[in-house]
């Protein structure tokens, strides 16, 4: 079964969870490919500067390109881009400017994937969504259907709602496709938005792999959602983000240290 991991910015695509997800899919027996958008150097430099600043972008470029030289003996694994990692393991990596471009569509059609698995990808055009035989799936850092859109971990904390990850089928809407899996994440005292982000990534990795296997083997029951079941959120303003962070810091977040096992099946 052919699974295509879809991501962007191949030179700076270093999050550990993505390599973990690719590893999980390979171990599960998928014929794995990686497709990148925004592959031009200019696009990546622009994105890197915007996200990390000049020094941070330079460091990440170096890490993504030269992992072996930076690996300290006995130390933690160095940051390495998914692109380099995948190529070292024989998984083909395909680079394009944009997902909807003709060359990208042609290559994806040739690959005839059963699954597209989104791993921090751009918005996926309809022409791409039409290609996989089974589905396109995404890991969303929020509990659907209530929280759609961006920064929903922050928004959930701001509203004193539980946080978690949902894996869903991607449709043309924003996080409106059928829900495949959900998992609430416990929030311990001392947690920060940064530490929660890492938990979400690892949870998304596990759920995406589980969903891929479930869709391949059967046994996953998609749950439809309707737009009125939730609200779409946008990137949170820094003032509100500070307030969400403060709720974690001062211990006023309602779901701090609570058992969340009953929230999601």
């Amino acid at each position: 079964m052919v699974a295509v991991l879809v991501s962007r910015y191949p030179r700076v695509d270093t999050p550990t969870w993505k390599r973990g997800l690719a590893s999980d899919l390979l171990e599960a027996g998928f014929d794995l490919h990686v497709v990148y958008s925004r592959s031009s150097l200019a696009a990546q430099v622009q994105a890197g500067l915007a996200e990390f600043g000049a020094a941070g972008a330079a460091r990440r470029f170096a890490e993504g390109r030269l992992p072996s030289r930076r690996a300290p003996a006995g130390g933690p694994a160095p940051a390495q881009s998914l692109a380099v990692w995948a190529e070292q393991r024989g998984a083909p990596v395909h680079r394009f400017a944009r997902l909807g471009d003709d060359d990208c569509l042609a290559r994806l059609s040739e690959l005839a994937p059963d699954l597209l698995v989104l791993a921090g990808a751009d918005l996926v055009p309809r022409s791409v969504l039409a290609i996989p035989r089974v589905a396109t799936v995404n890991g969303h850092y929020g509990l659907l259907p209530a929280y759609r859109g961006m920064n929903v971990t922050e928004w959930s904390i701001y509203h004193d709602d539980p946080v978690g990850v949902s894996v869903h089928v991607v449709d043309p809407g924003i996080d409106t496709g059928d829900i495949l899996l959900r998992r609430a994440i416990p929030v311990p005292t001392g947690a920060s938005l940064e530490s929660l982000r890492a938990k979400h990534q690892e949870t998304a990795r596990a759920l995406l792999a589980e969903a891929a296997v479930g869709l391949r083997d059967g046994g996953l029951a998609p749950t439809p959602q309707s737009p009125e079941d939730g609200r779409q959120f946008y990137r949170m303003h820094p003032v509100l983000r500070e307030r969400a962070e403060a709720k974690l810091r001062d211990g006023t977040y309602a779901w701090l240290d609570r058992d969340v096992t009953g929230i999601t099946p």
Binding site: R231, Y234, R235, H237, P238, V239
Partner: protein
């Protein structure tokens, strides 16, 4: 030092020299920032003294007219412009609101001086003329009359019935010129075309009706608002939202329309006014998120029709969204409002040049088509209004 605005500047003054130096410097500055910093800022765009600076600019617009009306604003080409009845009308409320929050004993005095000046320039038909004082043609216009009506009503709390005769004459002008279809006569419309942004006029009439039990004013306002609702398309677009024929609606005009509808809902409880505001706001907030800023103009399919931003419209929309948050409690509107206000506030002039300190340019970049190379008094007014709303919303 106080200096009255004059129509001609025949003698070379220090202000001429300052403008000659500043104009190219501002153009270079904005050109440099246009690409790098047009989008949403990563951090807060509002500094602690932003409100004080904006109100300081409004004070200067009053000083330069000899404390009659508020100057239309400062032009990098012409210097201080003449007093502008329309915007002086709604500046009154801003000054009074600021004075209710901060020690500023001069502001109620200034507001009364402006109210008196508006009475002095009111036309015999009860209306208020278009344009700045001294400009032609002299013609009573619905929108300008409504904005001054707001000012006279704002002054009722502190001045009692001092302006009621003027206000009542203005209301009669508005009621008498409104047709049975809710559209004002072309003869009293700017550019001789109907405008949905007259919802702000209807809001003023509803305020007057509430204050004086004038049912004629209320019914006329509601008739006009019905017409406004009928001009909205399912995609949130408003027909007849332009200032002049052959142009695309600006965020300034759209925000006028939305605020008029929203405040009319707050006064009447009519939910359809609110629904209309939500419908258009949803589209504009999405545009703000996707584009990272709000272009000054859009076409009927909400495609950007300009590269520059109308800073007044941006900050006005921020105010509309903060009011939506206040009314409905949905903090997604607080989020959008804060972002829009950031985008405008970060363009507030903060340099040592006294003439423009605290002001907001018409456009970003400063040469954009909306009030090019100018610092309108209404831009500072809407910035100050939005900043006070921001304080209220963040205190919740």
């Amino acid at each position: 030092m106080r200096r009255r605005a004059t129509a001609s500047n025949a003698v070379l003054t220090p202000d001429h020299l300052r403008r000659a130096v500043s104009l190219p410097a501002l153009v270079v500055r904005d050109a440099a920032q246009a690409q790098a910093a047009r989008r949403l800022p990563a951090s807060r765009g509002v500094r602690d003294d932003a409100l004080d600076l904006a109100v300081g600019y409004l004070r200067r617009t009053h000083d330069v007219t000899g404390r009659r009306g508020s100057s239309m604003g400062y032009s990098l080409l012409e210097g201080w412009r003449s007093a502008y009845p329309e915007t002086t009308g709604y500046v009154i409320g801003t000054l009074l609101e600021y004075a209710s929050r901060h020690p500023a004993p001069d502001l109620p005095v200034r507001a009364r001086e402006m109210g008196d000046w508006e009475t002095a320039v009111q036309a015999p038909d009860g209306g208020v003329t278009q344009g700045a004082i001294g400009s032609t043609p002299v013609r009573s216009i619905v929108f300008n009359t409504g904005m001054v009506l707001h000012g006279w009503i704002d002054l009722r709390d502190s001045e009692g019935e001092r302006y009621d005769d003027s206000a009542a004459r203005a209301v009669r002008f508005l009621v008498d010129n409104l047709g049975p279809d809710g559209v004002w006569s072309e003869s009293v419309e700017y550019s001789w075309i109907p405008h949905v942004y007259n919802s702000r006029v209807a809001w003023a009439m509803l305020r007057w009706a509430d204050a004086t039990a004038d049912d004629g004013a209320r019914h006329a306002a509601e008739r006009h608002l019905e017409w406004v609702l009928g001009r909205q398309r399912p995609n949130g677009w408003f027909d007849d939202c332009v200032f002049k024929p052959g142009t695309q609606p600006s965020t300034h005009g759209i925000a006028y329309t939305l605020r008029g509808l929203l405040e009319s809902q707050a006064l009447t409880g009519e939910s359809r006014y609110l629904d209309a505001v939500l419908c258009t706001s949803e589209v504009l907030i999405r545009k703000l998120e996707v584009l990272g800023y709000l272009p000054a103009n859009f076409d009927e399919d909400w495609r950007p029709a300009a590269r520059h931003a109308c800073l007044t419209g941006t900050v006005q929309l921020g105010g509309v969204w903060l009011r939506l948050f206040q009314i409905g409690g949905d903090d997604r509107y607080l989020n959008a409002g804060l972002k829009a206000i950031d985008l405008a506030a970060r363009r507030q002039e903060r340099g040592p040049w006294r003439a423009t300190r605290g002001a907001l340019a018409g456009s970003f970049p400063v040469w954009g088509r909306y009030a090019p190379l100018q610092y309108p008094n209404w831009a500072a007014k809407f910035l100050a209004d939005a900043l006070m709303l921001r304080d209220d919303c963040l205190a919740i």
